[in-house]
């Protein structure tokens, strides 16, 4: 990488090359794993892309997976941008999903307002669930990384408990996959983009949200302030910014987007709440935010790429004997190789240190 830095002067090109090298290395190691399994990696990767983009059905399914990838990426990025680590998007997603499901089946509405109310309440629930770690961190200096991670478990188990004991129609099954709420009313289901496939209006919501956040980050006073807080909260506070209040707000908004993601998953795809339905969607958000360096437009691109890999991996697994876990390894290695050089993680950690040093040294209240 150092050699590349010396040769290539153009910053943008340099960035592009870095991404390319990181991805290439990931793909090579993925290929080795596929060979070890006795498959031709070229065939496997071909199947992956064909399965992700090769047909209308494939594309629809890719967009279905792109939606939560963009949203959880945005949710995490808001926190990262300001130096707050919300690793609890997964938990906020569960809470939002459960509330949306309850509203979806239990509250009688005749029309589309039903879906909108369910989305808003799900989103609000996610925000409220993020308020808890936000207060713990901003006010009582209890490490937000630890408490958001722990609250994820609370969310999994709490939603499972509520579903099993209060929502399930016949509470006999003990298998987690079968712990489900009743199905939501038709009025709460989201319109599909390419019927009959799962891609739904949630994709549009994700794109619009990314555009709005991009505008907020780069064009408004608040965006400027958030950006400065992320780099040096002491300076922002010196300039008259109420750093802790903005930090709390950012945390809550992050949680709201997490809750919204869950609500969209339920209303758009699953149509009922199921215990443990989210397979690490919230944690994918961390990787996506890192890869996109918290830029909302970058998150759209990375999110789409994520959708391709996620959907394509399933196709690859169907068509060859290669396991889809190989693709998860490629994804993780991509992030790892990229962060080795660009110091993204180092920058983020510096932001946290700045909070601990700057924001928490004095006594001003939220």
């Amino acid at each position: 990488m150092i050699i590349v830095k010396k040769v290539v002067k153009n910053q943008l090109l340099l960035e592009f090359i870095k991404y390319f090298i990181a991805l290439f290395l990931g793909i090579i190691i993925g290929a080795i794993l596929i060979i070890l399994k006795g498959e031709n990696p070229l065939v496997a990767y071909y199947m992956l892309f064909k399965g992700a983009l090769g047909s209308r059905a494939a594309l629809a399914q890719t967009l279905r997976w792109t939606t939560p990838a963009i949203l959880t990426g945005l949710a995490t990025a808001i926190g990262f941008r300001i130096g707050v680590f919300n690793l609890g998007v997964e938990g906020q997603l569960y809470i939002g999903a459960l509330i949306a499901a309850i509203v979806g089946y239990a509250v009688p509405f005749a029309n589309r307002v039903h879906a909108i109310v369910a989305l808003l309440l799900g989103s609000l629930a996610g925000g409220l669930y993020a308020l808890l770690p936000a207060i713990l961190w901003m006010r009582y200096r209890i490490n937000e990384i630890v408490n958001t991670l722990m609250l994820n478990y609370v969310a999994y188990l709490l939603t499972e408990y509520i579903t099993r004991h209060f929502l399930m129609e016949n509470s006999v099954s003990a298998v987690p996959k079968q712990i489900v709420s009743p199905e939501i009313a038709n009025s709460a289901k989201l319109p599909l983009l390419m019927p009959p496939y799962q891609a739904n209006i949630g994709f549009i919501v994700a794109i619009i949200l990314a555009l709005v956040l991009s505008y907020l980050f780069f064009r408004t006073s608040t965006g400027y302030t958030l950006n400065i807080i992320g780099q040096n909260p002491s300076f922002a506070s010196y300039g008259g910014v109420n750093v802790r209040r903005l930090g709390t707000v950012a945390f809550i908004v992050s949680g709201m987007i997490g809750g919204l993601t869950g609500a969209l998953e339920i209303l758009g795809v699953h149509h009922q709440f199921a215990a443990n339905f989210s397979v690490n969607l919230g944690f994918d958000g961390v990787l996506i935010a890192l890869l996109a360096k918290t830029n909302p437009l970058g998150i759209i691109v990375v999110g789409f790429f994520w959708g391709i890999l996620k959907n394509g991996a399933l196709a690859m697994e169907r068509m060859t004997s290669a396991n889809k876990i190989v693709i998860q390894v490629v994804q993780a290695l991509f992030v790892l190789f990229l962060t080795v050089d660009t110091g993204v993680v180092k920058q983020l950690l510096a932001k946290r240190v700045a909070w601990t040093k700057g924001v928490h040294k004095d006594g001003d209240a939220i």
Partner: protein, 510 residues
């Protein structure tokens, strides 16, 4: 002479900067050789090369007529070179003894023979007339003693050549005299001392020979007999005219703009930091605050700008009670602040010049309308400030971490003085900036007072305080221990007050 240190054409280049440009210099053994120069002149680079922290790109160092090449600080220590750093390299929670032997512990099999070290250290400190309490923790002893610990540390490591990097920056005038006595004792005992400073008076007081660096080159060298402050200053900055700052004359009584009434602040450990402090500053007045760092200055500043929690008392800005106002509310009323820590508090190093300049103005017209940034206005705003404050930048999009200390400080001041202020707090506004920038900054502060602002100037630099202030108060232990109007107090008198009036009684048994 044996023991001489000879630098032969030392060159060291950093990205974009030629820090040392073929420096050749002979330092005679058993003398005090001062090296003076502005910040960025190359003093620190040269010394870091001598003590093994940096390697020169080209050039040689000879000690005792032998070529030396240091790969690490440890090599330099072995060659008898020790450095007393400006920022003390001490662990606050360890005892003096443990700090002294750290890294060079006597003993074997992982066991430390502390008693052996103690005997050796006691012998050393008697020999050099140093007195340090070996069993106190570093955090408990005053700064001047910490410095003695640093000196003892290099002696313990067997140093023959001792480098002092800006040693008086943290000391009162009395403590400085004590340091000079210690340095003379070192010379008596056949050590060689290299004294880095930009305080010309002190250099003339202690040095035998003086070398002046400018822009990475030796711009002059002379024995102390031929040196005058004027001459040294000329060689340092390369020009002859200096503006002597003159505090504004205030003829009539004016309205007080900043009033502090019975302020009391205790810190988290329940220690009283500000004790029943009252003063006021009227429009156009510059009030200087002298005092050794840690006597309540930072708590006072925090209380005034709205950062700290106060126990009791009131703060009035232009006769309006702002005791409970937020930082933003106070800034909107015209309070401005040039903080001591310009890189961590006063600026956002990784952000662009324009981003640094608009902080505090970013939410209101003309820079923003309805929360939306107006980039044309921002561009004009920062261009205007860069021009008005003569900030040297390649582009306003570059991060300020690439600016020199003086230009960074100008960026801070440009932002704070972009609009007329009601009250200006300036904390060590020229520390570590070169003479030309310092002069400019002083003129800006005087101008601001001239426009009718009330200025609170907190500084460790007594010359700065004396030349700018209408009135000076001395803080000691959170109280005003002395007050005087311009011209009525000498540096020595202030120094005595800074030490708590009774010289020598600073709470440590000798």
């Amino acid at each position: 002479m044996p023991g001489d240190i000879i630098f032969q054409a030392i060159t060291k280049r950093f990205p974009g900067v030629l820090a040392n440009d073929s420096i050749s210099l002979t330092i005679r053994a058993k003398t005090v050789h001062a090296i003076v120069g502005e910040n960025g002149a190359g003093k620190s680079t040269l010394m870091n090369i001598l003590c093994g922290l940096l390697r020169p790109d080209s050039g040689e160092i000879l000690i005792d007529h032998q070529y030396k090449s240091f790969n690490s600080p440890r090599d330099a220590v072995k060659a008898g070179i020790g450095m007393v750093h400006q920022e003390f390299m001490l662990a606050r929670d360890l005892t003096v003894l443990d700090n002294l032997i750290l890294g060079y512990e006597p003993g074997s099999y992982g066991l430390i023979k502390r008693e052996e070290a103690r005997k050796k250290l006691q012998k050393l400190s008697t020999a050099y007339g140093l007195s340090v309490p070996l069993d106190c923790k570093i955090g408990e002893i005053p700064v001047s003693f910490q410095q003695q610990v640093e000196i003892l540390k290099v002696l313990y490591r067997g140093a023959e050549i001792i480098i002092f990097d800006e040693p008086t920056a943290v000391l009162t005038p009395q403590e400085t005299r004590g340091l000079f006595t210690a340095i003379r004792e070192l010379i008596e005992q056949n050590k060689t001392v290299i004294f880095i400073s930009h305080k010309l008076k002190e250099v003339i007081a202690i040095a035998d020979r003086i070398s002046i660096l400018r822009n990475g080159r030796v711009s002059g060298e002379l024995p102390v007999e031929e040196a005058t402050e004027q001459k040294l200053a000329e060689l340092m900055v390369g020009r002859k005219n200096f503006l002597q700052a003159v505090p504004p004359v205030i003829k009539e009584e004016r309205a007080p703009l900043l009033e502090i009434v019975n302020l009391r602040v205790t810190d988290q450990a329940k220690i009283v930091r500000i004790n029943d402090l009252s003063f006021s500053i009227q429009a156009g007045e510059i009030l200087g605050v002298a005092g050794v760092a840690g006597n309540g200055q930072s708590e006072l500043v925090a209380a005034i700008i709205g950062w700290g929690v106060i126990d009791s008392g009131r703060i009035l800005l232009n006769r309006i009670d702002i005791t409970t106002s937020s930082v933003r509310q106070r800034r909107l009323k015209g309070m401005r602040y040039i903080p001591q820590d310009r890189s961590m508090i006063g600026s956002c190093l990784s952000a662009a010049v324009w981003e640094n300049l608009i902080m505090g103005y970013e939410f209101k017209a003309p820079l923003a309308r309805r929360g939306l940034l107006n980039f044309t206005e921002i561009n004009n705003f920062s261009k205007k400030l860069i021009g008005r404050f003569k900030i040297k930048v390649a582009s306003q999009d570059m991060p300020v971490q690439n600016l020199s200390g003086g230009n960074l400080q100008k960026t801070v001041i440009a932002r704070e003085l972009a609009e007329n202020s009601t009250v200006l707090l300036a904390e060590d506004p020229t520390r570590g900036v070169d003479i030309a920038a310092a002069e400019f900054i002083h003129s800006q502060i005087l101008q601001e007072a001239g426009k009718g602002s009330a200025v609170l100037l907190i500084s460790q630099d007594l010359d700065e305080l004396l030349s700018l202030s209408n009135r000076i108060i001395v803080l000691y232990d959170g109280r005003i221990i002395g007050e005087s109007i311009a011209g009525e107090m000498t540096k020595e008198a202030i120094g005595l007050l800074m030490g708590g009036r009774c010289n020598g009684k600073d709470g440590v048994d000798k």
